[in-house]
């Protein structure tokens, strides 16, 4: 099978994501009404949409936290629900809540994460990461004393403990300081070069647009727009997004 841009798709399925007819109902409330989406390895997909559009639900299903009502999700050629832990091993998630234990120090948080990820002899790796995210000075301080930017950097550090092949980010640009933003960009670019697949959901049109290879808009559980970044400009995309927003209001 050869893709439109000529690349060989068979080699590419190393860390690709394939979503087919994904549906999720919470009781009688539809959250996702049939999503078809592909993300190739080395690709960054930016997902936009208003609150309640289903972005977080989609990410949570990809992360293996939520079981879909129907439809399939395939990661690196394997159906997600066949081997959750296998996929989790290869996945890195930066969630909305920073998922840090406030009573513990930065070092302790990372050491625990390393243990959970199955890393042997984690202490050098932990020290390395703390240096990389600029928290080596605050390493033994309790996370409770951190600013939100510092917390975000630590959460990012957690992500960096292993090199994830699939990266999921839910509102990564919220509460980031300048240093954290730069770190995130570097991390995403570095991972991309290594062939990792990234899905990023955000409200921040500018940042999302800037980092993405592909763009998609979700509206009330449906995919209403999808394009490669080269095919559009930021202003055009902005107006398109606003338009979809207004159509939504009328519905």
């Amino acid at each position: 099978m050869v893709r439109a841009d000529g690349a060989d798709a068979t080699r590419a399925s190393a860390a690709a994501i394939e979503i087919r007819r994904l549906v999720k109902w919470y009781g009688s409330q539809p959250a996702l009404r049939g999503i078809d989406l592909d993300v190739a390895p080395g690709e960054i997909l930016a997902l936009f949409g208003p609150n309640g559009a289903g972005k977080t639900t989609l990410l949570r299903i990809l992360a293996g936290l939520v079981r879909q009502t129907s439809g399939t999700v395939t990661v690196a050629g394997q159906p997600l629900d066949r081997d959750y832990n296998g996929v989790r091993r290869a996945m890195g998630v930066l969630a909305h809540g920073h998922q840090l234990y406030e009573g513990l120090s930065a070092t302790e948080n990372l050491t625990f994460a390393a243990a959970m990820l199955g890393l042997d002899g984690p202490s050098e790796r932990v020290a390395q990461i703390l240096l990389r995210v600029g928290l080596e000075a605050a390493a033994s301080s309790s996370v409770r004393t951190f600013s939100s930017g510092m917390k975000r950097r630590l959460a990012l550090g957690k992500l960096m403990l292993r090199e994830p092949r699939v990266i999921l980010l839910d509102e990564p640009y919220a509460s980031l300081d300048l240093q954290a933003t730069k770190l995130l960009e570097e991390f995403l670019m570095a991972s991309k070069i290594k062939g990792a697949t990234t899905v990023l959901a955000t409200h921040n049109l500018t940042m999302g647009f800037g980092v993405a290879d592909r763009l998609a808009i979700l509206r009330q559980g449906r995919l209403v727009f999808e394009a490669r970044r080269e095919e559009t400009s930021l202003e055009a995309f902005r107006s398109l997004f606003a338009l979809h927003g207004e159509l939504g209001e009328v519905e």
């Binding site: 949570r60 992360a63 293996g64 936290l65 939520v66 079981r67 832990n85 296998g86 989790r88 091993r89 996945m91 998630v93 969630a95 909305h96 809540g97 920073h98 998922q99 840090l100 234990y101 406030e102 009573g103 513990l104 302790e108 625990f112 994460a113 243990a115 959970m116 990820l117 199955g118 042997d120 309790s142």
Partner: protein, 225 residues
């Protein structure tokens, strides 16, 4: 890294977090002490009555205190989406359950170990020689409570009426434990031959085993959405 080490890592993380601020332990300890203190007034200051009812009073206090500890432990994971964070690791759900169970068990047991001598002082009872056997009764009872409690607190954590629901679900189920612990403690406190406590120990062991197996089998269903 083996399964057991992952379990220990989770338990250690919980205990470390608890040790840092000791909020949970202090709250539980104060509550248990208060309850025992209040019994004096509830039972009209009658020391004989209190001594006669002592095993029941102790376990009533421990039961309520355990619920406090269990609820707080789950709260800690719900803050900042830490439970989601735990679930995202490639770690078996059973390991998460066992780690949390171990953490809960140790904290509740620690509270009991501190309360026993305090109770003895408050009500002028000679407990020192009996402490090892009291602990022998307390361990399976507390373990059973932690086993059922860890499972149920996970269930009730996301509910609207969670403070009321956890005890309402937990207490009827753990009545065998409460009965056994009270009778067993009574045997020790009254200085009766320890063989009389053995059937109760067996009952607690049965409860612990059944519930541990059932929890290990069903925990993963509780945490997936």
């Amino acid at each position: 890294m083996t399964f057991a080490r992952r379990v220990m890592a989770i338990a250690r993380k919980d205990l470390l977090a608890e040790w840092r601020n000791r909020e949970s332990f202090t709250a539980m300890f104060s509550f248990a002490f208060l309850v025992l203190f209040l019994f004096n007034f509830a039972l009209g200051g009658d020391q004989t009555l209190i001594r006669g009812a002592s095993s029941g009073l102790l376990w009533l206090a421990f039961t309520f205190t355990s619920v406090l500890g269990l609820a707080r432990s789950v709260q800690g994971e719900l803050e900042n989406d830490c439970l989601d964070g735990l679930l995202l690791y490639p770690v078996e759900r059973e390991a998460i359950y066992l780690g949390k169970l171990l953490g809960n068990f140790m904290v509740i047991l620690l509270v009991e170990v501190v309360i026993f001598p305090l109770f003895a002082v408050l009500y002028n009872m000679d407990l020192w020689a009996k402490l090892p056997r009291l602990l022998l009764i307390a361990v399976p009872g507390t373990l059973g409570f932690a086993v059922a409690g860890t499972l149920l607190s996970t269930m009730t954590a996301s509910l609207r009426a969670r403070e009321a629901m956890l005890p309402f679900l937990l207490f009827p189920l753990t009545i065998p434990l409460i009965l056994s612990a009270v009778r067993g403690t009574e045997v020790v406190l009254l200085g009766e031959p320890f063989e009389l406590a053995v059937p109760w120990l067996k009952l607690m062991a049965a409860f612990d085993t059944v519930f541990l197996v059932a929890s290990l089998l069903t925990f993963e269903y509780l945490v997936e959405e």
